[in-house]
Structure formats: structure tokens, C-alpha cells
Amino acid sequence: MSLTSLTVHGAREMLRNKEISAVELTRAFFERIHALNPRLNIYLTLNEVEALAQAAAADVRIAAGEDTPVLGVPIAIKDVLSTIGLRTTAGSKILEHYVPTWDATSIARLRTAGAVFLGKVNCDEFAMGSSTENSAYGPTRNPWDETRVPGGSSGGSAAAVAADLCCAAIGTDTGGSVRQPAAMCGITGLKNSYGRVSRYGLIAFGSSLDSVGPLTKDARDAALLLSVMAGNDPLDSTSVHVPVASPEVALHKNLNGLRIGVPREYFIDGMQPEVVAAVRAAIDQLVSLGATVREISLPNTSLGLPVYYLIAPAEVSANLSRFDGVRYGLRVQGTDLIDTYKKTRGAGFGPEVKRRIMLGTYALSAGYYDAYYIRAQKVRTLIKQDFEAALQEVDVIAAPVTPTTAFKIGENVNDPIKMYLEDVFTLPLSLSGFCGLSVPCGFDQQGLPIGLQLMGPAFGEATILSVAHAYQQTTDWHMQKPDLAVGS
């Protein structure tokens, strides 16, 4: 087994036992990144010098007997999370030369725990998209089929994990941006409950929806990274004080008597039959491990998409007003200040970001606010109530992550609604603020990965992680690797 295929816990074990050094491990990743990144377009900024210094520092701490879940472990970071001294573009031309002067809290916690930051990875511009094609720096390619998208918006994070260009990656999920690319790249992705991980230093997209979460090679790694990043932060008033279960606790639940609900609204016309079959087989596997299963209903599922595409753009239009060419980023000088704002934003933002700013501005404008924005917030309440009611009757909800496997680059770019429909099974949970994850559960006939979505209550990460872990103890879908001939 090569060093770059190591999980976080696998790497930690070898580092703890002094079988490898963090420097050696970090060098192995950079060697593979230099070989594969020109093809896959995953890393936008490499942190090679600093990463080797972080690795050397971790080796000193390891030699002194110190132990943390990520000490000396190389990870990749989505380019919407602020990293001190390391360029952070948000996938946008407007921040092409932006170098943060502080760390996001989630990143600061990983840094303190001794993780090694390999670099910043590609994503849809400001995390708005489902394919990474909205990046101003070109699409990332799916390691399983380089003519296809890796999903999005955390497509670079998911592809980096799938291609063994990191031990694990950090992403963000606003409407499915961790779960959907994880499914399309055949890896594990955890969307934390809203408030579980601080949003401080995450470049804001939809502030009532944004969450920071891990993309990993297995559920155990997701639990480990969560344990480092989670917890209240005085710098984010929406981060909660709810304690997070230790990975040992999170992963040692027995599935006997676990009640799984399967929502009928998540199996719809037009879905790829292989996705349905793989998800049904995965649910059968959970039953064979002791769980019970029943059909449930989340009746407002189909409203998730229209609700999300009013609420998220409304928040976008407010959050992205800060990019005005005054304090940071691009400035394109106009005839007066207003003209400078317009020219700067017109030149700096890409098509999808402009589309959402326009949509949000319209939904919040006088005369339309009640009809669009407030009504969407009321229907959001109904969607949240669906999940609350269902999770009174079952412990976990199991469903597909996406209606299809990864689509071709360019296939959906001219049809926004078709692209938005890729997120139809991830948006409702995001609107509820509850937690969910994606685990690999099979492949279609073209060899493209399929994901199983497990959804749980707010702050119920330990439950869904334990189910995912039990599933991965008895299946090997998560161990499959794409064939990426290197150095040929």
C-alpha cells in the first residue's frame, strides 16, 4: 500500500509507531500532486514550503509523545476557508490575489492540533454550484472519469480524497456541497448540523445554511476531523455549546434495533436505476446488521429546491455586497464610486454568482419580499417540520444523495434549473439544519461511484457516523480506488 492511500487514522497509527515521519508522508503527497494535478486541476494553491515546516514541527511533537487525531496528517482545504498567509480565492477572480490575515476557526483548530496543510483546493465560485464548473480557475476533473465533473461545490476536496492527493479534505455544505461531490467521487462526506462547527473565517455564502465539514476516506476519519473542528466559538454567535461525542463513542454503536426510515419522495421518476438499486442494497445491508426499516414520507421534499433558490440567493445578495473593490480584492476604476462598484463586481464575479446575486436582490426588493422571501421562509418551516416528525419515528433516514452518478463536463452548464436539480435530495436537509452524510455504496455500469445518504437529527452526528462505520466494516465500496496511472 502506498503512503498516499492512507486514511487519517491509518496515517496516525504509522506516525505514532514511528514507521513513517510526517515529513516523509508530506513529501509523498507533493510528489503525487505534482504528477496528477495538471490533469485533474484540484489544487489551486500549493503550500509546499509551509507544509514541510508544519510536518517537521509535527514530527518534533510526535517524538515528544504528543498525540492528537490529526498530528502530522496532510490535508487539503477548500478555497473558501480563510488560511493565514495562504492565498484564498473562493474560486473567484475577484479574490485572485487575496491572502487572508487570519485563519478560519475550523482551520485554526486543525493547525493547533498539528495537521499539515497541503494547499487550497478548487470549488465552484463562492461555493455556488454542483459541478466545480463555476470555478474561475477551470473545472476539476473526476478521478473516476476525467471527462466528468467531480460534483460540487466541494469538488476539489472530494477529488483530492478520491485521487489520494491528501489523507482527508475540508469542505463546506450549504445545499449539498459536501455530500454530493462525496457521492460522485466515491468517498465519505459529512455535512454537520448547522452550528456544530464555527463559520468564522468561512467566506460567507448563505449564512443560515453554511456548514464546514470533512471529506474523508472513511467514516472513522470523518468522526476524527469533526472532533477537532467542532465546538462553540465566541467569534460565531451561531456556533453551539453542544458537546461532540468522541470518535470512540461515535463509532461503537450496535445497529441492533436501529430504526431506519426510507422516504418515498427520494425515489422519483427519471432517476438512474443503478442508483436506486445500489441504495436499496445498502439499506438491505443495514437490515442484515440488525436495523429495522420502514417507509416514511417527507411530503414537502419537492419544495426544497424552490425554497433554497430563493433563500440562498437572498443571503448571497447581502453577503457578497462586501466585494466592492474598496477593502480587498479586485478594483476596476469607474467614473465615480457607484460606477467603480458596478465595474468591479461586473468584471470580478462569474455567471452563476451574478445570477444568484440578481435573483436574491429581486426576491428581497420592495414589492416582492413577502411573495418570495418570506413565503420561502414559511415553506422552509414546513420542510423542517417534515424532518422533525420523521425523526420522532425513526433514528436515521436513508436515501440516495443524487438522482444520477457524475455527469459530463459541460452537460448542464447552459440550463440552470437542470443543474439545480442535481441537488434535489440534499437541499431539504440543509434547509432543516440537521446533519447528514454520504457513504459510497456501489458503482454504475460505467464504473462511476454511487452514494448512500444517511440523515439524522440536529447534533446527531454520532448516530449517522456509527451507522456509516458499521456499514463500512462489512462492505468495501469505500476502499475502491480509481485507476490513475502516474508517471507513465
Binding site: T101, D336, M358, T361, T381, K384, L431
Partner: protein
């Protein structure tokens, strides 16, 4: 809901976005299609339903003994500015003849 190009121009002005002629045509079509799709929400009975602005039940709290700490040094605040005089951000005048 069909948006005209002049609707798009009005929204773009509110959003402080300069759009090309092509973009105005494209966004008029695409935003109309998205708003048509969103119109299905008007069919939903939301009588007596409270809007959800935040999924958290917690309310904002004031911190006790809130001491100023971790303030951003001036050089860090200015580090990414397109134009500064070394002590402040430089921009055009807010009013037409303020320069």
C-alpha cells in the same frame, strides 16, 4: 413571471452589477424561468406558519465582561486593499464633485 431587460437593468443597478448586453438578455430569460419554477410556492398553504430565518432555537446573547481582544492590526486590515495611503483605504469621493 417574465422579466424584461429593463427589469434586469433595475435589479442590476440595485445589486451594483454592470452587465453586458448579452448578459441582460440571458439573465432576463434565466431569471424568468427560475421565478416561474419558484411560483409553485404560491400554491402552498402557509397560513399560521412562522417563517424560519434561523434553524437554531438559541437566541443571540450578550457576552459578559466583553474585553476588546484580537483586534485587527492596521497593516493586516490594509494588506489586501487595492489602494491605500499606508494608513487608510483610498476610494473615490462619495458625491459627484467631492474629489
Amino acid at each position: 413571471m417574465a422579466l424584461s431587460e429593463s427589469d434586469v437593468e433595475r435589479i442590476a443597478h440595485l445589486a451594483r452589477l454592470e452587465l453586458t448586453a448579452d448578459e441582460k438578455i440571458r439573465y432576463a430569460q434565466q431569471l424568468s424561468a427560475i421565478l416561474d419554477y419558484a411560483a409553485q410556492l404560491s400554491q402552498i398553504n402557509v397560513d399560521g406558519i412562522a417563517p424560519t430565518a434561523s434553524v437554531l432555537s438559541v437566541r443571540s446573547v450578550m457576552r459578559e465582561g466583553d474585553l476588546v481582544s484580537g483586534e485587527l492590526p492596521r497593516k493586516d486590515a490594509l494588506a489586501n486593499a487595492p489602494k491605500t495611503d499606508g494608513a487608510s483605504f483610498e476610494v473615490q469621493g462619495t458625491f459627484a464633485d467631492a474629489d
